[in-house]
């Protein structure tokens, strides 16, 4: 085993950049902030690539299976001899995969932002926030115990809040930041209770010990957690579902997804980093981290699977009707995360039953590349057009060849066209689903075709459709620092699918032989190609067919365009029900009863002191008189009344 202590540097370098730029950025590094942030991230990325290399190919395997390595672990808070919160770094296949993804995408975003955010007033602040986010995300994936993950989980939420609300002079950005924070906070409330349940029954917060205790059927912890039940459901299921609620909030699963589309108010590179590639997959990562435990409980897995497929389908339908480019991408993210989730939900534990797990992690990996590419392309398009609305775009393919190429590749990848990255991971997911749940499989197939349709609707509307107006060409495609990340990510989107994932990441760490079934791929790829042709037919040239189609769909179209009224339902529940039935009575009680009793006490005290303040006359002889009367009274008491 080689020494992995250098892992600590991977999250600490972005933290250093955050502190440096946060404290002194505005004064000393106003223009060099981008270089500093990018340099620290470059170092982190190289270190994590090195760690991945040495773990996967040199010495990670013990007896043919990838094991867990814990580095620099120390006890941070001791509750009782058995229960403590530790801090440390946990290395296993998924955390190594995540640090590579997070640091790499973050590096690309840092680089892209040098050009994109140039001339911004709070340039250094922006980079310090990016550093904070990267630090928290890396800390999250490297956490050794469930409480440490919770701490970083909240830190990630805070940095996401700061970055969504980066343009704080825009009311919509402030509202979006608040919404994202409140919705995810609400979900984290469930997460915390879940942690407490698992910690209480498991007697530990450490991942390794927890999983070991709660997955062996004979252990006393397992027996007590399955025996105990609440509302007819065992505590194991409750704990897992509540933890999943936290994951669903962060990963924008239905019905906690409402914050994600609004979060697009932040700068576009931030959307690429946080709301597409890294933070939103934290929920998937959490479920994967606790997967052996989820695999013990069918009910919880079913919930994961159905929440995933429902989100995937709903988001895909909504994405077909949106016109804001970033919102389409946001719904597409939500849909793809739904894919990862239900892949976990249909998976089992061990050997070939764990295909869904492998496929889910694979999709997480490839999705990070093509989705951040899509967002960065969207960023450079918005940079050129100064608008988010697809209607203001069109015919951009000649103006921005690099972006056009990158966007096309990313669209092909997300649609699952071979041989691009998304094809392999999506085939893996569909295959695993086909083998365990046919119902989910057919919905997934349909959703995957829808994905191809809305992505190419976006592609054709932006790059073809109509002629580009020439007035918009006052500056080109963007500086070199904006193009380089696009090119690198395009290369990744093409090549990432060839990573032999099932040899690296499996449920039990034992490498699996890959078996690709080409016949199976005919249906999904064929459907995707059909959907692309349909999109080309509708949107390649400006025509009236899309309007006619939407009119013929009638209410379904309107409902989808209005995002199925989910926001309205939330508004109704919060404003009409919660505010009126709980908020207003509580406010009344607060104002009248709580405040009233305090005010009463104050009034009584005030009145009394008004009455007796005359005693404090300032005249010495009065005081002497009181003194003597006091003595006389005491004398009377002691002589006559004290028996």
């Amino acid at each position: 085993m080689s020494n992995y202590s250098y892992i600590a540097l991977i999250p600490l370098l972005p933290l250093a950049s955050f502190i440096l730029l946060g404290l002194w950025g505005r004064k000393y590094f106003k223009t060099s902030a981008g270089i500093i942030g990018t340099a620290s991230l470059l170092a982190s990325t190289l270190l994590s690539l090195y760690a991945a290399y040495s773990y996967f190919f040199v010495d990670g395997k013990i007896n043919g299976a990838y094991g867990k390595v814990e580095v620099l672990k120390y006890t941070w808070l001791q509750f009782s001899p058995g229960l403590s919160i530790d801090m440390g770094f946990l290395l296993d296949p998924i955390s190594i995969m995540m640090i590579v993804v997070v640091s790499f995408v973050s590096l690309m975003v840092h680089l892209f932002s040098i050009g994109y955010m140039k001339g911004e007033e709070r340039f250094a602040t922006y980079y310090s926030f990016l550093g904070l986010f990267t630090f928290s995300m890396l800390g999250l994936v490297l956490s050794t115990n469930i409480f440490q993950i919770y701490i970083f989980w909240e830190l990630v939420g805070v940095s996401s809040y700061l970055l969504i609300g980066f343009y704080y002079d825009r009311p919509s950005a402030v509202a979006a930041a608040k919404k994202a924070f409140i919705v995810t906070r609400f979900a984290d409330f469930g997460f915390l209770i879940g942690i407490l349940i698992l910690g209480f029954y498991g007697g530990t917060l450490d991942f390794g010990t927890l999983l070991q205790r709660l997955t062996s059927i004979q252990s006393s912890e397992f027996i007590s957690i399955t025996r105990a039940s609440f509302l007819g459901v065992s505590m194991l299921t409750w704990g897992l579902l509540l933890v999943f609620m936290g994951g669903a909030g962060k990963s924008a699963l239905f019905p906690l997804h409402i914050w994600l589309p609004d979060a697009m108010e932040g700068p576009t590179p931030v959307s690429a980093l946080i709301h597409a590639a890294t933070m939103v997959v934290a929920g998937v990562y959490l479920v994967a981290r606790l997967f052996p435990l989820f695999a013990m409980d069918d009910a919880a897995l079913q919930v994961v699977a159905y929440a995933g497929i429902l989100s995937a389908l709903l988001a895909a339908i909504i994405a077909c009707t949106q016109t804001d480019i970033k919102r389409v991408l946001a719904y597409s993210t939500m849909s793809q995360i739904g894919f990862m989730m239900f892949a976990l939900g249909v998976s089992g534990y061990g050997e070939s039953k764990g295909l869904g797990y492998t496929a889910s992690m694979f999709h997480l990996f490839t999705h990070a590349f093509f989705k951040s590419l899509l967002f960065l392309c969207a960023g450079s398009i918005i940079h050129l057009v100064h608008s988010n609305d697809m209607k203001n775009m069109g015919g951009l393919r000649k103006l921005m060849p690099v972006t056009h190429f990158g966007f096309l590749i990313a669209c092909l990848a997300i649609s699952g066209i071979p041989p691009f990255a998304g094809f392999f991971s999506k085939e893996g997911i569909l295959m695993a689903t086909y083998e365990s749940n046919k119902f989910i499989f057919f919905i997934a197939l349909f959703t995957s075709a829808l994905t191809a349709f809305y992505m190419f609707r976006l592609y054709f509307s932006i790059f073809w459709n109509k002629e580009a107006s020439t007035e918009k060409t006052h500056h080109g495609e963007g500086s070199l620092s904006m193009k380089v990340p696009l090119i690198i990510l395009t290369a990744c989107s093409i090549l990432a699918g060839f990573v032999p994932f099932s040899k690296l990441i499996t449920t039990d760490g034992i490498p699996l032989e890959e078996h690709m079934n080409l016949l199976f791929s005919i249906a999904p790829v064929g459907l995707a190609l059909l959907a692309i042709l349909l999109a080309a037919n509708l949107y390649k040239k400006a025509n009236t067919r899309p309007q006619k189609l939407s009119q013929s769909l009638g209410t379904l179209y309107i409902a989808a365009k209005r995002k199925f009224y989910i926001d309205e339902v939330y508004l109704f529940i919060t404003q009409k029900v919660v505010f009126n039935l709980i908020g207003r009575p509580a406010a009344w009680i607060d104002r009248n009863i709580i405040d009233g009793s305090v005010n009463l006490l104050a009034t009584v005290t005030g009145k009394t002191s008004q009455g007796i303040k005359g005693l404090q006359s300032g005249s010495v002889q009065n005081y002497a008189l009181y003194f003597f009367s006091g003595i006389a009274a005491l004398a009377v008491i002691f002589i006559y009344l004290w028996k």
């Binding site: 303040k613 404090q616 300032g618 005249s619 010495v620 002889q621 002497a624 008189l625 003597f628």
Partner: protein, 104 residues
């Protein structure tokens, strides 16, 4: 030799105490008030000496108390006169009613 009964002595000391109280509450001049306080203290001294003599003739506890009180009275007089001098410096008077600023 005819001894003086205890009640007579107590009568003197009570009278002295009442005169002291009266002086303390009616006089406005600080020096007069200080003298009144000395009267009160001395009435207590007489009590101590008298009880010592009549109740425990072979002990000296009461006498010791008196000596203590005389000592403390001397110290108290020094402090009181210092206060009076300071009041005179700030208020140009030693009338107790001229110094009533410390109130509500």
């Amino acid at each position: 030799m005819e001894t003086v009964p205890l009640t007579h002595i107590l009568f003197v000391s009570t009278a002295l105490f009442c005169i002291g109280m009266y002086g303390l509450f009616t006089r406005r001049n600080l020096i007069t008030m200080l003298m009144a306080i000395e009267l009160i203290l001395n009435s207590v001294n007489i009590n101590f000496v008298a009880f010592n003599k009549y109740l425990y003739p072979y002990k000296l506890d009461g006498i010791f108390f008196v000596i203590f009180i005389i000592t403390i009275a001397a110290a108290e007089a020094a402090v009181a006169i210092a206060i009076i001098i300071n009041q005179y410096r700030t208020h140009q008077s030693i009338d107790v009613e001229d110094a009533t600023e410390l109130k509500f």
